[in-house]
């Protein structure tokens, strides 16, 4: 949605100054509270714009962000960002720590007021209709929103009560949610007796207690062990698939964004530097649809290379050292063709490695530097990428 359609929603009304009787007009969204200053004597009056808060038409978008900006002192944490998130998609905000991801989430969750710009979440304005926004969102923030001294059920009940859900509905809902994450038998145990992974499972379903249309996940796998990380990622997928919940996810883990998100916005220094599907983002690096393979052949001969080069899917071929080749090829059967060709020419293939660019390469390509790492997960990337200029570099420190 554009600024224009927000304009169209606005209602024009008259304000009569209580002191001098001067009448001025003002505009605003229905149900909005505003302070109007008399243009003739400067007296301020509080007005409520008539009508009930009505959803703003957003053409199937769950979130529309328009020129959003947040400044702390003279530091712009979020710098003029605009994008929209479609209903039912998992949208990833990817970037290093301090890039502004959390600030965006906080503004969208009405926890922080934008310095400039506007946004609608679930068709409601985040500043003017913040109460409505809150009814339709769930939040999993970096810190777990739970009381350690309470049991899982008590926590769910407490936060459910904030949404004014009648008891009988809330109780069934809690049982459903506990079943959803297979935590029924832990329902009446205190949170502080749980492992981090169990805590996070409860924390995620806590955000679902009001059946939100939009779920915000701020670094949901931060500090979890690999097994719990996998569990939470699976949970996120199921929430999206089974309930059709729109999910906004922030992460600094590239692999996570790659495997979970339909679309990814890459953020650096408060700005969106790229926004697309993971596949399209990777194309930014390779520039083509070609896939690169690294092949090690123990008895490499020039004859084999010229035979390979004559294959139609092969776009380029570079010999790195006496036994290593880098081959770029197009098409889905490129790999088969290359292997067949090499077998026919009697090559002894010792190793083949797919050098498809990763999101790390995308990030490096876009920002010219590696994303800063935060220790959170075991093991590094299995893939080794090639930079934009085809030079081998050491494994990116970001997963």
């Amino acid at each position: 949605m554009t600024e224009n359609s927000i304009q169209a929603m606005k209602i024009t009304n008259n304000f009569k100054c209580p002191r001098c009787g001067h009448i001025r007009t003002y505009t605003g969204l229905p149900g909005e509270h505003r302070i109007v200053t008399c243009s003739s004597c400067g007296v301020q009056g509080k007005v409520t714009i008539p009508g009930v808060a009505v959803p703003i038409s957003t053409n199937g978008s769950a979130i529309v962000i328009s020129h959003l900006k947040k400044v702390f002192g003279d530091f712009a944490a979020v710098d003029d960002i605009s994008f929209s998130v479609k209903k039912g998609e998992i949208f990833g905000l990817l970037g290093p720590n301090g890039a502004g991801k959390s600030t965006i989430i906080r503004m969208l969750c009405t926890l922080s007021r934008p310095t400039k710009g506007s946004a609608t979440v679930a068709s409601y304005d985040i500043v003017k209709q913040d109460g409505k926004v809150r009814q339709h969102i769930g939040l999993v923030s970096e810190k777990m929103i739970m009381y350690d001294q309470l049991t899982a059920r008590e926590n769910l009940k407490l936060f459910g009560k904030l949404y004014n859900i009648p008891n009988h509905l809330l109780n069934t809902r809690i049982d459903e949610l506990l079943g959803f994450v297979r935590m029924e038998k832990w329902a009446d145990h205190r949170i502080d007796t749980f492992s981090t992974g169990m805590k996070q499972r409860i924390n995620v379903i806590r955000a679902l207690v009001n059946e939100p249309n939009i779920l915000f996940l701020d670094e949901p796998t931060l500090g979890l062990d690999p097994q719990s990380t996998a569990e939470i990622r699976e949970l996120i997928r199921r929430i999206n698939a089974e309930n059709g919940t729109t999910i906004i996810l922030t992460t600094h883990i590239m692999v996570e964004a790659d495997i979970l998100c339909k679309r990814i916005g890459i953020i650096d220094h408060g700005k969106i530097v790229a926004l697309d599907t993971p596949a399209n983002l990777k194309k930014l690096v390779s520039g083509t649809d070609a896939t690169a393979f690294e092949i090690e052949i123990s008895n490499l001969e020039p004859r084999m290379m010229s035979s390979l080069q004559s294959q139609s899917p092969v776009k380029s071929l570079v010999q790195v050292d006496p036994t290593h080749l880098i081959v770029r090829a197009n098409g889905s059967d490129a790999f088969d063709n290359i292997i067949d060709n090499l077998r026919n020419s009697g090559a002894k293939v010792r190793m083949v490695k797919n050098l498809e660019p990763t999101l790390e390469d995308v990030f490096l390509h876009l920002t010219g530097r590696e994303a800063r790492e935060k220790v959170s997960e075991n093991g590094g990337s299995q893939k080794r990428g090639f930079g934009p200029h085809g030079q081998r570099r050491k494994t990116a420190r970001v997963r």
Partner: protein
């Protein structure tokens, strides 16, 4: 802050401590129940001395009950009563009785007043004795005492019992504990929730932001009340403090104290990012209040500028009101001024604090 705090404390404690055992311009009521000439001449004599030393500001009271009212209303610090048959006793060659009325709710002050007044009246008596011996030369032994010491000074509290420091200090401590519960509890509760992350969960839910702080206020009020009552019970059981006034009025005053401090607590909560800053700001505010509000030392014995500061602290009024009701058995009209001032403090602070809090929550 590290250096300033102890320095500040020293200065505060040093200044509020009673600076001497003399009194000056202390409001004292005088009741003359005697209808003879001797009473009048006693007053003339007292006035003459007072004009020279300026230690009292004399006013007139009808009788003991009138004086009690004046004490409860804080109009006077003590009183002198000339007994009914003062003249006739003296003329009959007996001792004339003078009663010094003291205020048990303020033991330090009453001890000072009692000391100074006794000394003054004794010396007045001696003067009279010399005068009389000059006139009447021939005196019998039974008349000797009445000539050398014609006046007997006794003191009477407005309630039964001796002045007791704990009696004086207990009401103030109750008010202080309630204040501390709110001022420490409120910022702590909010910054704790901020720290563990649960505050975000509440702020992201469709509830009024004020209900968050209201819930905290209620919890801290109950905590403060419980602590206040524990002190009250300890004071009664262990230290023999007698509650003279209506216990319901005491409870009401404690609640009113809470109300007057809620705004301040919310204000600190809104201003401070984390618990450490909150604790520091709170300490800086609380310590002067504790010492300047007459909790431990009577206001009347502080230098005038410290007394001036005390008038801007709600704790001063809370302490005074509680003390009047608990020790002197005052009723609502007697503490009306304090009640109004506390309500005023509460409303003004809340009017400032609530918008601040709302703004702070959507930073």
């Amino acid at each position: 802050m590290l250096v300033l705090m102890p320095l500040f404390m020293m200065v505060v404690v040093g200044f509020i401590f009673p600076s001497g055992s003399s009194i000056s311009d202390t409001p004292i009521a005088l009741a003359n129940l005697d209808n003879g000439s001797m009473g009048t001449s006693f007053i003339t004599q007292l006035n003459a001395i007072n004009n020279k030393t300026g230690m009292m500001e004399l006013s007139t009271a009808k009788d003991f009950d009138d004086m009690k009212k004046m004490l409860q209303n804080n109009e006077i610090n003590g009183g002198i009563i000339i007994s009914e048959n003062f003249s006739s006793n003296l003329l009959a060659g007996k001792q004339g009785y003078i009663t010094i009325v003291i205020d048990q709710s303020n033991p330090q002050m009453s001890v000072t007043i009692q000391g100074v007044l006794s000394k003054t009246i004794e010396s007045m008596g001696e003067q009279t004795a010399i005068h009389q011996l000059n006139i009447k030369y021939n005196v019998s032994t039974t008349q000797a005492t009445s000539m050398v010491k014609p006046y007997t000074v006794q003191s009477q509290g407005i309630i039964a019992g001796e002045p007791n420091y704990f009696q004086f200090v207990a009401p103030g401590i109750i008010a202080m504990v309630v204040m501390m519960a709110l001022m420490t509890g409120l910022p702590h509760a909010i910054s704790y929730e901020k720290d563990i992350g649960t505050l975000d969960g509440m702020l992201a839910a469709p509830i009024n932001r004020l209900s968050i702080i209201l819930g905290k206020v209620m919890a801290q009020t109950i905590r403060g009340m419980i602590q206040g009552f524990i002190i009250l019970i300890l004071a009664v059981v262990l230290f023999g403090v007698v509650i003279e006034g209506n216990i319901l009025l005491v409870v009401f005053l404690i609640l009113l104290t809470v109300f007057s401090f809620v705004g301040l607590g919310i204000l600190i909560t809104s201003f401070t990012e984390n618990e450490e800053t909150a604790t520091m700001v709170m300490m800086t505010l609380m310590f002067p209040m504790m010492f300047l509000s007459g909790v431990f030392f009577p206001l009347q014995q502080m230098p005038w500028y410290m007394q001036g500061i005390a008038h801007f602290l709600p704790l001063t009024y809370a302490t005074t009101a509680l003390r009047k009701v608990m020790v002197l058995g005052a009723d609502i009209p007697a503490v009306g001024t304090e009640i109004l001032i506390l309500v005023g403090f509460g409303i003004v602070l809340l009017l400032i604090a609530v918008p601040m809090f709302k703004r702070a929550m959507s930073r």
